[in-house]
Amino acid sequence: MRSAFQSLFPPGTPAVMCLGFPLHPAGASTIARGVDHLYFFLTALTLFFTILIFSFILYFMVKYRRRSDDEQPADVKTSMALEMTWTLIPTALCAVMFLWASSLYFENSRPPNASMEIFVIGKQWMWHLQHPEGPREINELHVPLGVPVKLTMTSEDVIHDFYIPAFRIKKDVLPGRYSSIWFEATQLGTFHLFCAQYCGAEHAAMIGWVYVMTPSDYAQWLSGGVKGESMAASGEKLFTQLGCVTCHVANNTGRCPSLVGLYNHTVALRDGRTLLADESYLRTAIVNPNSMPLPGYAPAMPSFQGQINEEQLLQLIAYIKSLGAEEKKSGEK
């Protein structure tokens, strides 16, 4: 399947070529166009000011070249108006750039609500990607066209950085916490996936390909690939194996709170903090439960730091999320 796709979409076809090298990278996400427009504006501004300064310098160089060694040119008084002009104009331009870039950044930071989820684990020196339905990939990411995809990412060792130039997205992938990023592909094809944070000897080999497929091809790929159980199913097995199930009983009669419906709800801690039970919360609750004691429960839960790897953590979290989803469904009925 991989080779079939590679022949269909030769890797890394750039959008604009000139004299044997690319001038402009492919723009293949909903984010790319806005970023490019701002980039073009900044480039125009840079050209304008560079040419302006160079022209003045060249003109003065010729016009006021020294004609005799003893020349003593007259003093030119500093004009306050001129100083103000070239202070205020750049300030105004900076304000425009700041507002434009920041509003775009805000817009680009927020994933749409109906995003499909994929999980990413970086380790020296490979990308491990996992779809909730089960399929796992190494250094390859298959995604459907026109569907927002949210990536939840973590690292098993050092800091990595997940970068897809064609989508104009990039985010550090840190050990010990989750970061997230999202995109919606707008172009079928094969695009580079890079690690953009230096991570050791084979940093430059920590690269891969993103395959953007039509939704029907993607559905076929999901079902036709390696038959594996869903992340939530793996998580449920772990939940039993690790003994979580003995305390976290579904009907709240155990020594620990029920996890049904926990995901995406707010939790009040004993110290008065209120936290949203998102992926990061669940991660901390498993790895370092004593850092967030709950009112009404003894701090009985052991830490699972070092006992389960990042992949298993994500599976457990997927399982806990699926508990929430079931409750919601039954609530709707």
């Binding site: 890394g12 900044l42 100083e83 050092v158």
Partner: protein, 553 residues
């Protein structure tokens, strides 16, 4: 080239270079001018080590799969290049060489306030450099100059500690130099030399010294914490032992962003001197240029987070760092406009130092404007960590700081050595450097926008053409830096005698002999006019040497 000096000047019989003889007289000297030369020799040595690493990197990148070395070796090359160039060349370059030589001369003092401390600074620098050189020969270091954790603290198997200790130690040299300059500028100005009569070089060295003193201790603390974690496994940065991996970046950039201005502010000071001298004009908007140095040195402490827009730092923090980063660009823009306006109605000559100064303005303008791309949050997301960053900061640090350093070395060379270099060769070298520089780094802007990440030992083949262009430029640039080394060394013995003031420039340093006597001035000069008073019909042109005759009162 002729310098059109009517009567052939002769070297003074006794000057600081021949006042005492022997290796001890150099290694135990407390003369700021000799210490400047000790620095000049040592940083030139380090420059060519860092440069050799750069040339090897560029040769390696001619082929997408890497032409020369293993990826591990490539990683060590860029780490050595960064560490040596930033900490052992750029940071000490203008302050420790030109600053040391010129600060007392420009303010009419005999020496710095603490001459022995000044010598100690050089020894500290040398000890730090030895540690780092040891790290290189004993197997190298592969963390990059940024030492990001937890890679540097837990995962790197190379000689991280020796390199980091070298950087730690050399930092104290910066702190002491900064302290020495600030005290000297406050306490030892010649009679009549008020703050607003100071040359702009002094203003910018003062602003730089503030960063030295306030910023460098933070770097020392950061490296100390890194050592605690690497050697004793105290959990500070590695989440596996309870640390926070981003804490390191906050601390590191709190120093290292201002450190960029440690490199650029003195360069701006040099350029102000060059522009004034070679257009024979007072710098337009003197006080705007002076105060913009201070604005830069203060705001530079508040922008470190712009290195961390994609680390997952809060988007609101991102907004604040973005707005402050735009703000720090404005004083730089003000300087560029004022330098350009200085040329208006000037009497402009194009000797080598002026070519470097004009090159600085052009390249610094481009480097500064491309910095705005990186302050723009949404665009930075795409460009961060790519060759665009590499191009941007090389335009500032090499196109800016090194150009100004070269210009300054050429401008004050006749004062330092008493002899002229061949101006034709010097102009040729300046041109070669300008062309080589742009050919090296302009393609890297394009590579970055196309998405090529930095620090890649191998890369996808569609990036090859631009990489080959960049490598070709680097070899031209390398030759451009070797030419001055040859003719400057040659000129020390064979160059024509320069005389006290070959450029007919203003400034106290030009009013004493070349090379100056050990005590700089035969009599303490008394200052009666503002800096760059080219327009005034000066006092009788015959009596140029000591300003002081009659003390004007």
């Amino acid at each position: 080239m002729s310098t059109t000096v009517a009567e052939a000047p002769a070297l003074p019989r006794v000057h600081y270079l021949n006042a005492t003889y022997g290796i001890r007289s150099w290694l135990l000297t407390t003369d700021h001018k000799r210490i400047a030369l000790l620095y000049l020799t040592s940083i030139t040595f380090m420059f060519f080590i860092g440069g050799a690493a750069a040339v090897l990197m560029r040769l390696h990148l001619i082929e997408p799969q890497g032409a020369l070395v293993q990826p591990e070796t490539y990683n060590k090359l860029f780490s050595i290049h960064g560490i040596v160039m930033v900490f052992f060349f750029l940071i000490p370059s203008i302050p420790a060489v030109l600053g040391n030589f010129l600060v007392p001369m420009m303010i009419g003092a005999r020496d710095l306030a603490f001459p022995r401390l000044n010598l100690l600074s050089w020894y500290i620098y040398v000890v730090g450099a030895c540690f780092t050189l040891y790290a290189i020969v004993s197997g190298g270091v592969d963390t990059g100059w940024t030492f990001y954790t937890p890679y540097s603290s837990t995962y790197a198997h190379t000689n991280v500690m020796a390199a980091a200790v070298g950087v730690f130690i050399t930092g104290f040299s910066s702190i002491l130099t900064g302290l020495n300059f600030i005290v000297t500028i406050h306490k030892m100005r010649a009679p009549g030399l008020t703050w607003f009569r100071l040359p702009l070089f002094i203003w910018s060295i003062y602003a730089t010294s503030i960063i030295f003193i306030l910023g460098t201790p933070v770097l020392a603390i950061t490296i100390f914490l890194l050592a605690l974690e690497r050697l004793l496994h105290v959990g500070i940065f590695d989440p596996a032992v309870g640390g926070d991996p981003l804490l390191f970046q906050h601390l590191f950039w709190f120093y290292s962003h201002p450190a960029v201005y440690i490199m650029v502010l003195p360069a701006m000071g040099v350029v102000s001197e060059l522009i004034a001298a070679f257009s024979r004009k007072r710098i337009y908007g003197y006080s705007f240029v002076a105060f913009s140095s201070f604005a830069i040195s203060i705001i530079s402490f508040l922008v470190w987070g712009h290195h961390m827009f994609v680390t997952g730092q809060s988007i609101y923090a991102g907004l604040i760092f973005s707005v402050l980063s735009f703000l720090v660009a404005i004083p730089s823009a003000i300087k560029v406009f004022n330098w350009t306006a200085t040329l208006y109605r000037g009497s402009i000559s194009y000797q080598a130092p002026m070519l470097y100064a004009l090159g600085f303005i052009g390249l610094f303008t481009m480097g500064g404007l491309t910095g705005l791309f990186l302050a723009s949050l949404a665009v930075d997301v795409h460009l961060n960590g790519t060759y665009f960053i590499v191009a941007h900061f090389h335009y500032i640090m090499v196109g800016g700081a090194v150009m100004a350093y070269m210009g300054g070395i050429h401008y004050w060379w006749p004062k330092i050595t008493g002899r002229m270099y061949p101006d034709g060769w010097a102009r040729f070298a300046a041109l070669v450097i300008f062309v080589g520089f742009n050919l090296t780094f302009f393609p890297q802007y394009m590579l970055g926008y196309l998405g090529m990440p930095r620090r890649y030992a191998v890369y996808p083949s569609e990036f090859q053409v631009l990489n080959v262009m960049s490598s070709a430029g680097a070899s031209i640039l390398g030759i451009g830096y070797l030419i001055p080394l040859i003719y400057l060394v040659w000129s020390m013995r064979y160059g024509p005698v320069a005389g006290p003031n070959p450029w007919k420039a203003k400034g106290l340093e030009w009013e004493t002999s070349s090379p100056p006597p050990t005590e700089n001035f035969e009599e303490t000069p008394i200052v009666t006019e503002e800096a760059y008073a080219y327009a005034r019909p000066a006092a009788p042109p015959a009596a140029r040497r000591p300003v002081t005759e009659g003390a004007h009162d």
